[in-house]
C-alpha cells in the first residue's frame, strides 16, 4: 500500500490554564490514505476541532501536544519550523471553516483573494493565477464564475461564499483537506448542494479529507470511515457501515437514539436521550469516561484503569473503547426502547390565523429611488398566512431562513402588529394588538420558547427571581411564599434541582438554560406555546432530552404547541400537522403523514430530500435546489418558488399566483401542477419497515 497521507499516533493534546493541565485530546490515532474521507463525529467539547488544529499546527497559545506524533507524508509536523509550516498550510493542507463569511476578507474582491493563494504559494504570474481561479470556481459549480470573481464577499449568498471557500482550499491541489462543520451555518437546501459538491470533489481531485461534524447523516453521505469521539477520546472507529449498522459502543448507540430518523415518529420510536451531561475535562471519571452516562455501566468493571481501544476484526478496521463490548448486545435492546408515547386526542381550536399579512416599510435612501420619488420599500415578510392550532396539537412551521417564520412569531406574540388579516387566540383577535396593550391573561395564554439558550435568560438575575417575576406578572399568585413554592414546582417540572433557583444563568449549561426557558414559558399555564427552533443550538444528546421534556410538558398541560423549525426530521418526529412556508407564503399544509408523502409541493419535496439521514438502509431520492431564496423586498411574480423550482411548468408559474389545491382530508398544496401529476411521484424515502435489525433479510419496503 502507498504511503499514507496522514498518520497520527498516540496523539495527546492538553490545554494549560490557571486551573492546571486540562487534557483535550487523549490517545488519538488515525491513518488517512489518498482519496479517503474520514469523518470525525462528536458533540461540542469532545476535541474534534482541537485535532484539526493540531494537524494544521495552529493550536492556540496555551495548548500543547504532550505526546504522540502527526506525520504528513512522512514528515513530522510537530517538529517543523514556523517557516516550513507556512509552506504547508494552505498549500498541502487546507482547511474549510464553519462560517464562510468569516473566512473571506470582506474588503477584497473574491478574484483577488483566490489568485493571491496561487501567487503566494505557487509563485504563479498574475494572469495565470486569475484564469486558474476562474476555472476552479466553475469546478465548484458556481453559476457565472466571472461575475463572482469581480464581487465582494457580501455580494454573494452564504452558500456561494462557502463554495468560494472550498474553491480557495482546492486551488493549490492540497493533499489533505480539513472540513470543520462546513455546512452548519447554512440552510438545509443549500447544505444539500454543498455536501453533494464535497462528495464529487473527493473523486475529482483525489484529495484526502477529514470531515468534522456533529451530524451523523452528513458523515454517512460523505465519508468511508468514521471516528466517534467522546470527551477527548475516540470511543469507536470503523467503516461507516460497521459503525452505523453494527455499533459496539454504548455512546455511539446513544447518539443514534438521540436523532429522529425520518423512518419513525414520536409514537413509534420515542427519542431516547443520553442521561446526564458531558463531564468537564477536569472532572472526567476514572476508567471509562462515558461510565456515569452509560446504561451498561458495571461497578468494578468500567471504573477501573483507563481503557484501551480494542480492535474487533482481523484487519483492525473496526475498533471500540469499551471493556464490556463483548457482553452487551446493543442491537438486541433496540426494540425495547423507552416508554412509548400515547397519542393525544386533539381538542378544540386555540389559535386560528386567517390571511395574516405583515409588510415592513423600509426607507430606501439610495440615489435612484430618490430620483424616482419612491423612498419607501416594502419587505413582504408574511404574504397571506392561514392555519390553526388545537389543544394538545403540535403544529410545525417549516421553512428556510428568511421565509418569514420569525416574523410570524413576532406578530403572534405582539412584538409587531399585523398589516392585515386576523389571528384569533381563544376567539379574540390579537393580530393588531401590541403586547403592551394586551390583557395579562392574553399574554400569559401565549408564551414563547426562544432559540438561543445563551441569550434567553437575563445574565444579571438569578433563575429563581426571573421565574418569580413571570409568576407575579401573570398574576398567578401574589403571595411571596406561594410564589416561591410555584418557582420550585416549575423547576421540578423541567427536571432541574431546587437549588438552581439561587443560581445565575452563567452557572448553567446550554441545555439547562433551555429548560429554564421552557419553565418560564409554561409559568402562566399558557394555552399555546410557540417554540422557535428550541433545540437547534444544542448538542444532539441534550437536544433530544429537551425535545422530550417539551413533549411531556405539553402533554401533561394539554397545551397547543407551534413549533418553528428548519429541521424536517425533528418536525417529522414531533409534529401532528405541518405548515410549509416559502417567502411568506404557505406552499403546503396538512397532517405530518400527508406532507411527508406524495403528493408533494416541489419545494417540500426538496426540503424533505435535504434531510440528512443517519440510516444506511434508507434510500433517498435526490432533489437539489439551484440558487438562493430571493429577497422578500422584491419577491418573484406569480408563484414565489418559480425561480428555484425544478418542476416549473412554464410561463404560467411566473405570471399567476398558483391555485391552492385542497383535498377532502385537509391537505392543501399551492401549485400550478395538477394534483394527479404531483401524486404521481416516487416518495423521497424508501425505507424498510421497522423490523428487528437482525432479521433485516425480511425487509418489508414501505414508503413515505
Amino acid at each position: 500500500m502507498a504511503q499514507p497521507i496522514l498518520e497520527i499516533e498516540r496523539l495527546s493534546i492538553s490545554y494549560f490554564t490557571r486551573a492546571g493541565e486540562i487534557p483535550a485530546v487523549i490517545d488519538f490515532n488515525m491513518t488517512l490514505h489518498e482519496g479517503e474521507c474520514i469523518g470525525l463525529v462528536g458533540e461540542s467539547g469532545c476535541g474534534k476541532s482541537t485535532v484539526a488544529m493540531a494537524i494544521m499546527q495552529y493550536l492556540s497559545g496555551n495548548a500543547r501536544v504532550v505526546q504522540g506524533s502527526i506525520r504528513f507524508k512522512g514528515r513530522e509536523l510537530t517538529q517543523l519550523s514556523p517557516r516550513e509550516l507556512r509552506k504547508i498550510r494552505g498549500n498541502d493542507i487546507a482547511m474549510i471553516y464553519q462560517e464562510p463569511m468569516a473566512s473571506l476578507n470582506p474588503s477584497m474582491l473574491i478574484g483577488h483573494q483566490l489568485a493571491e493563494v496561487l501567487i503566494c504559494h505557487k509563485k504563479m504570474p498574475k494572469s495565470e493565477a486569475y484564469s486558474q481561479s476562474l476555472r476552479m470556481l466553475a469546478d465548484v459549480n458556481l453559476p457565472d464564475p466571472a461575475r463572482v470573481m469581480d464581487s465582494y464577499p457580501h455580494q454573494i449568498s452564504g452558500g456561494q461564499q462557502q463554495r468560494v471557500v472550498i474553491a480557495m482550499a482546492l486551488l493549490t491541489g492540497p493533499a489533505l483537506l480539513l472540513l470543520d462543520e462546513p455546512t452548519t451555518a447554512l440552510d438545509v437546501t443549500v447544505e444539500a448542494g454543498i455536501v453533494e459538491l464535497i462528495d464529487e470533489l473527493a473523486d475529482k481531485f483525489n484529495t484526502a479529507m477529514i470531515y468534522i461534524s456533529h451530524n451523523l447523516g452528513l458523515i454517512l453521505k460523505t465519508c468511508s470511515r468514521v471516528n466517534v469521539m467522546y470527551s477527548g477520546q475516540v470511543v469507536e472507529v470503523g467503516e461507516v457501515e460497521d459503525v452505523f449498522d453494527r455499533m459496539k459502543h454504548p455512546y455511539t448507540k446513544g447518539l443514534f437514539d438521540c436523532i429522529p430518523l425520518p423512518t419513525a415518529d414520536k409514537y413509534a420510536r420515542p427519542l431516547k436521550p443520553i442521561k446526564g451531561q458531558l463531564p468537564l475535562p477536569n472532572e472526567r471519571p476514572f476508567g471509562c469516561f462515558f461510565g456515569p452516562r452509560c446504561d451498561h455501566f458495571r461497578k468494578g468493571v468500567c471504573d477501573q484503569a483507563s481503557l484501551p481501544i480494542e480492535t474487533l476484526d482481523q484487519q483492525g478496521q473496526h475498533a471500540v473503547r469499551c471493556i464490556r463490548h463483548e457482553e452487551i448486545d446493543l442491537l438486541a435492546t433496540d426494540l425495547s426502547v423507552g416508554e412509548t408515547v400515547e397519542k393525544m386526542p386533539i381538542g378544540e381550536e386555540v389559535l386560528s390565523v386567517e390571511s395574516l399579512q405583515k409588510y415592513y416599510q423600509v426607507e430606501d435612501s439610495s440615489l435612484t429611488s430618490l430620483l424616482k420619488g419612491e423612498d419607501k420599500k416594502q419587505v413582504k415578510a408574511n404574504e397571506s398566512l392561514s392555519f390553526n392550532a388545537h389543544t394538545a396539537e403540535t403544529v410545525a412551521i417549516v421553512g428556510e431562513s428568511g421565509c418569514g417564520k420569525s416574523t410570524l412569531a413576532k406578530v403572534l406574540m405582539g412584538i409587531e402588529t399585523a398589516s392585515s388579516g386576523q389571528a384569533l387566540l381563544n376567539g379574540e383577535d390579537i393580530a393588531h394588538t401590541h403586547v403592551t396593550k394586551r390583557r395579562s391573561d392574553q399574554t400569559s395564554a401565549m408564551q414563547m420558547v426562544f432559540q438561543n439558550p445563551f441569550d434567553t435568560l437575563n445574565p444579571s438575575l438569578t433563575i429563581g427571581s426571573q421565574l418569580a417575576r413571570v409568576i407575579r406578572k401573570f398574576g398567578v399568585s401574589h403571595n411571596e411564599d406561594e410564589i416561591q413554592t410555584k418557582v420550585l414546582e416549575l423547576l421540578d417540572l423541567v427536571k432541574l434541582p431546587a437549588d438552581f433557583a439561587k443560581r445565575k444563568p452563567r452557572q448553567l449549561s446550554g441545555g439547562q438554560k433551555q429548560r429554564v426557558g421552557i419553565a418560564r414559558a409554561f409559568a402562566g399555564n399558557p394555552s399555546l406555546v410557540i417554540a422557535d427552533e428550541p433545540v437547534s443550538a444544542l448538542d444532539v444528546s441534550v437536544g433530544a432530552a429537551v425535545t422530550r421534556l417539551l413533549m411531556n410538558i405539553q402533554k401533561s398541560q394539554n397545551t397547543s404547541l407551534v413549533f418553528i423549525s428548519h429541521d424536517l426530521s425533528l418536525v417529522r418526529y414531533l409534529a401532528d400537522r405541518v405548515v410549509v412556508i416559502y417567502l411568506g407564503n404557505i406552499v403546503e399544509q396538512g397532517t405530518t403523514e400527508q406532507v411527508f408523502s406524495p403528493p408533494y409541493h416541489p419545494y417540500t419535496e426538496a426540503l424533505i430530500s435535504a434531510i440528512s439521514v443517519a440510516d444506511t438502509s434508507v434510500k433517498k431520492k435526490r432533489v437539489v435546489l439551484e440558487g438562493d431564496i430571493p429577497s422578500a423586498m422584491n419577491p418573484p411574480s406569480g408563484c414565489p418558488f418559480n425561480t428555484r423550482c425544478p418542476r416549473k411548468v412554464g410561463a404560467i408559474c411566473e405570471q399567476e399566483k398558483p391555485p391552492v389545491i385542497r383535498s377532502e382530508s385537509g391537505h392543501s398544496i399551492a401549485c400550478h401542477i395538477p394534483i394527479e401529476t404531483l401524486s404521481d411521484v416516487d416518495p423521497v424515502f424508501t425505507v424498510p419497515k421497522l423490523v428487528p435489525l437482525h432479521e433485516k433479510e425480511l425487509e418489508v419496503v414501505e414508503s413515505f
Partner: protein
C-alpha cells in the same frame, strides 16, 4: 443574612481585582488617596488656610515647632496640608460630577438606543452638537455664565460629558435590546422602563464601570484645569489646580509649589486609569 451577602459581594470584588496586577496597583493608589481624604484632619500637620511662614522650601523646620515637609507657598500656607485637604475637594466633586454625568448619559442612552427612530435622532443630534465644541471652550463658557462654585462645576462636567456617555450606553443598548431575554420580557408585557432598567442596564454594567473609572480621571483633570484657570472653587479652599496656578509665576524659582500638586493630580489619575485598564483586562478574560 443580608449583611453577609453584601460582605461576600465586596469580598468577591476584591478577589476579582487581585487577578490583575495592574488593577491591584490602581486600586491601591486610589485607596491611598481615599484614605488621605477621609483622615485629612488627622494627617495634615497644619491648618490649610492659615498663613504661617511664606515661601519656604521643602523640609524646612518651622520655628514654631514641626517641619514644612513640602514647603510653604506665597501666602505662607503649608503645601502638604493644602494637598491633603485638597484631596477632599477632588474626591468629593469628581465622583459627584461623574455620577451626575452618568445619570443623564444613561437615561439618554437607554431611551435613544431602545426606542431608536426619531427620539434617537433627536438625542444624537443634541449630543453631537455639544461634542462638536472644544471641551475647554465649553467649560469656560458655562462657568463664565453661571459663575464658579462647586455645584456649577458639577453642572458643567455633566453637560460636557453626558453626550460621550450617551453614545456608549446607546451602542450597548442597541446591541442588548435584540437579546432574547429582552424579547421574553416584552412578550410577557413588561413596560419599557422595566425592560430598560432591569433587562438592559444591568447587563451593560461591565463596560460602563470600566469607562466610569477612566472618565473620573478626566473629571479630576478637568477640575484641576478649571482651578488653574481660576474658575474652580473660590480661593481660600485648598484646590490642586488652583495651587498650581498660584505657583505658575514663580515656577523657576520655587518649583516645589507647583510640582507637588502636579504629582498629586497625576498619581490619582494614573491610579484610576490603571484600575480601569485592569478591570477591562479581567472582563475580557472570561
Amino acid at each position: 443574612m443580608k449583611n453577609a451577602s453584601i460582605f461576600l459581594k465586596v469580598f468577591s470584588g476584591i478577589a476579582l481585582i487581585r487577578e490583575s496586577r495592574v488593577a491591584m496597583v490602581g486600586a491601591i493608589i486610589c485607596l491611598f488617596w481615599l484614605f488621605v481624604a477621609v483622615f485629612a484632619s488627622v494627617l495634615a500637620p497644619y491648618d490649610p488656610v492659615s498663613t504661617i511662614l511664606p515661601m519656604q522650601g521643602p523640609m524646612t523646620d518651622n520655628p514654631a515647632g514641626g517641619t514644612f515637609w513640602l514647603g510653604t507657598d506665597l501666602l505662607g500656607r503649608d503645601i502638604l496640608s493644602r494637598i491633603i485637604y485638597g484631596t477632599q475637594t477632588v474626591l468629593l466633586y469628581a465622583p459627584l460630577a461623574t455620577f451626575c454625568a452618568y445619570l443623564v448619559g444613561i437615561v439618554m442612552g437607554l431611551v435613544g438606543g431602545y426606542y431608536g427612530g426619531k427620539v434617537d435622532t433627536a438625542l444624537s443630534f443634541i449630543s453631537n452638537v455639544i461634542l462638536s465644541f472644544p471641551v475647554l471652550v465649553l467649560y469656560i463658557l458655562i462657568i463664565a455664565t453661571i459663575g464658579a462654585s462647586g455645584v456649577n462645576i458639577i453642572l458643567a462636567v455633566t453637560f460636557a460629558s453626558a453626550p460621550g456617555i450617551f453614545r456608549i450606553v446607546r451602542g450597548l443598548t442597541m446591541d442588548l435590546r435584540n437579546r432574547e431575554y429582552v424579547s421574553a420580557a416584552q412578550t410577557r408585557g413588561e413596560n419599557a422602563l422595566w425592560v430598560m432598567f432591569v433587562e438592559i442596564l444591568p447587563n451593560a454594567r461591565g463596560p460602563l464601570i470600566v469607562d466610569a473609572c477612566l472618565r473620573m480621571g478626566y473629571v479630576i483633570i478637568t477640575i484641576g484645569v478649571l482651578g488653574f484657570l481660576g474658575m474652580g472653587l473660590p480661593p481660600p479652599t485648598p484646590d490642586w489646580g488652583g495651587m498650581i496656578s498660584e505657583a505658575r509665576k514663580l515656577f523657576l524659582v520655587f518649583p516645589h509649589m507647583a510640582v507637588f500638586p502636579c504629582i498629586a493630580i497625576s498619581s490619582l489619575v494614573l491610579g484610576l486609569n490603571l484600575l480601569s485598564d485592569g478591570l477591562r483586562e479581567i472582563s475580557l478574560r472570561d
